[in-house]
Amino acid sequence: MKPPPIRRLPAPADPDDAPAADGFSWAAVARELGLTPGGGVNIAELAVDRHARSAIADKAAFRFLGAAGARREVSYRELAELTDRFGNALTALGIGRGDGVFVLCGRVCELYVAVLGALKIGAVVSPLFPSFGPEPIRNRIAQAAGKVLVTTAAAYRRKVAPLRGELPSLQHVLLIDAAGDADAGTLELHALLRAAPATPARVPTGPDDPALLHFTSGTTGQPKGALHVHGAVVGHYASARRALDLHPDDVFWCTADPGWVTGTSYGIVAPLVIGATSIVDEADFDPLRWLGILAGERVNVWYTAPTALRLLLKAGPELLAGRRFPDLRFIASVGEALNPEAVRWGQEAFGQTIHDTWWQSETGGIMIANAAGQPVRPGSMGRPLPGVVARVVRHVEGEPVTLIETPDTVGELALEAGWPSMFRGYLGQPGRYRESFAGDLYLSGDLVRRDADGYYWFVGRRDDVIKSAGHLIGPCEVESVLMAHPAVAEAAVIGKPDALAGEVVKAFVTLRHGARPDDALRLELLAHARRRLGAAVAPKEIAFVLELPHTRSGKIMRRRLKARELGLPEDDMPAWGEEK
């Protein structure tokens, strides 16, 4: 990986001199974790090794639930050994500080070992969503010049092997489930782990050394690799305690896949640093199974997503009849605004208020939340956590960004730079990184309003990014794959409102001369997009149109398409930054 331009946070002269009004200071949290100013920090050391040397060494760090019913606990001591072996195996392969390590597999033990083991030796880890198709995988590994991929034999054959020639940086593919018959150009992970010594694997890292890479989507151009540093761990730790009310004795279940930032910050890092036990379920969403896990595994703190909550709600009261969750103490949600009905349903179903939280890949951790002990306003994302300074700003292309102080006025949500888990660069795209700040304000792209009591309410996106089931999808990534089909002249992609997913991807295409807009072609385009992008990114609907609306300079006006889809007058859509 090319050394990225890391933005360093200014070190306060003496942070303890100026704690916030509520007594909070990031320096005090860092001290609590045993960190010293100017000293080193490594996420895996704080998450695993520190506990393996302590009284909780034999406590379960993870409880892995297999899709077919297997149940396996891995203690902090075992996790330390496995991650040492993985780190040493990488070192033996010549992988070290700053090298890109990608992970592409389901939620199994090997994924967690790979992420934490790679962090130990200073490599930069990027977990990929297992539903990505070949094109999103190729693009992300290529952008980061990834050297290692940890995956399954099936995923390798289907999604990576056909494109291996386009990934010259990729030196090693480690298969977690190959047994003696590994494909050409791959290695068996378990053979490497057995051969590697269990001696401590450690490369010293500092707070500004890159650690994690999470790809996110913008309206235009390539997916953006938001780069995070080892020092982010201070933010993961503090926010999990404050926003999720997570304590060392808790059984915690974060349902997100590590391929999305939530599944890494709160599915891997935060609960381990706190010293809790995390449930990891390999299977896909299944209402009955999920309720069984909540009760049977005696989950205390549950962090999930609005789509899952709405699917449970939809299943009706029979699903919950006779079920009790006496151990469940705190429920939180992330991904998109949680509708008030879902909050009320949580109260009926679980006897618990569901606490909405807001953050992004770029923020690295929860920024705004209905935190424990504060009154919840159903439908609101809550208030900024201690150490986070949020603003509402007026942000119009070509004009200076100004603060909006009047309550209940819509503007863009902005954050004052300086929280520890702030992203420090977009890999290889320094211009786009600069554009996401106005002075010391990070501009989130989300439109919000703040009420008179300081609660924030999500309004929409400033750009054309699609939010489906809590995940951002860049229209450009989808459009460029559609336009690669010989029958397509031009494509435009929007988020079509959907009661369960928030939005689903809908594509409008114009055809080249001679192509017939029939059902056979529609299915062919759908297959083409799904094969390349995977189900998580590909459109759910494709419509043929005779022409697409353009600006005078030729850009597609997706907002017009969206207005048409919604049956709104086309001038009613907010046209932030759009050319007229």
Binding site: A67, D284, D286, S468, D498, V504, R530, A535, K540
Partner: protein, 88 residues
Amino acid sequence: MSLSSEQVRAEVLAILKRLAPEVDPAQIVPDQVLRTQVDLDSMDWLNVLACIHEQLGVNIPELDYGKVVTLDSMVAYLTARLAAASPA
């Protein structure tokens, strides 16, 4: 409406092929979990169930999701539901 299990299987595969046209039915191992073989996200899965409801008239409640995880088990489940619903 009573259908043979072969007819039900053909209907289910036709629905899958409409929603995920990249799927090659010949590649599906019928006694293994469908969603790990066919790339279906949660929304795709709900769409499959909605199409089954529409075309076969069988509504699969959430409580029965565990009974329809493989192609074989889904066909057996639907065939039995259709037989139970049709007049003797």
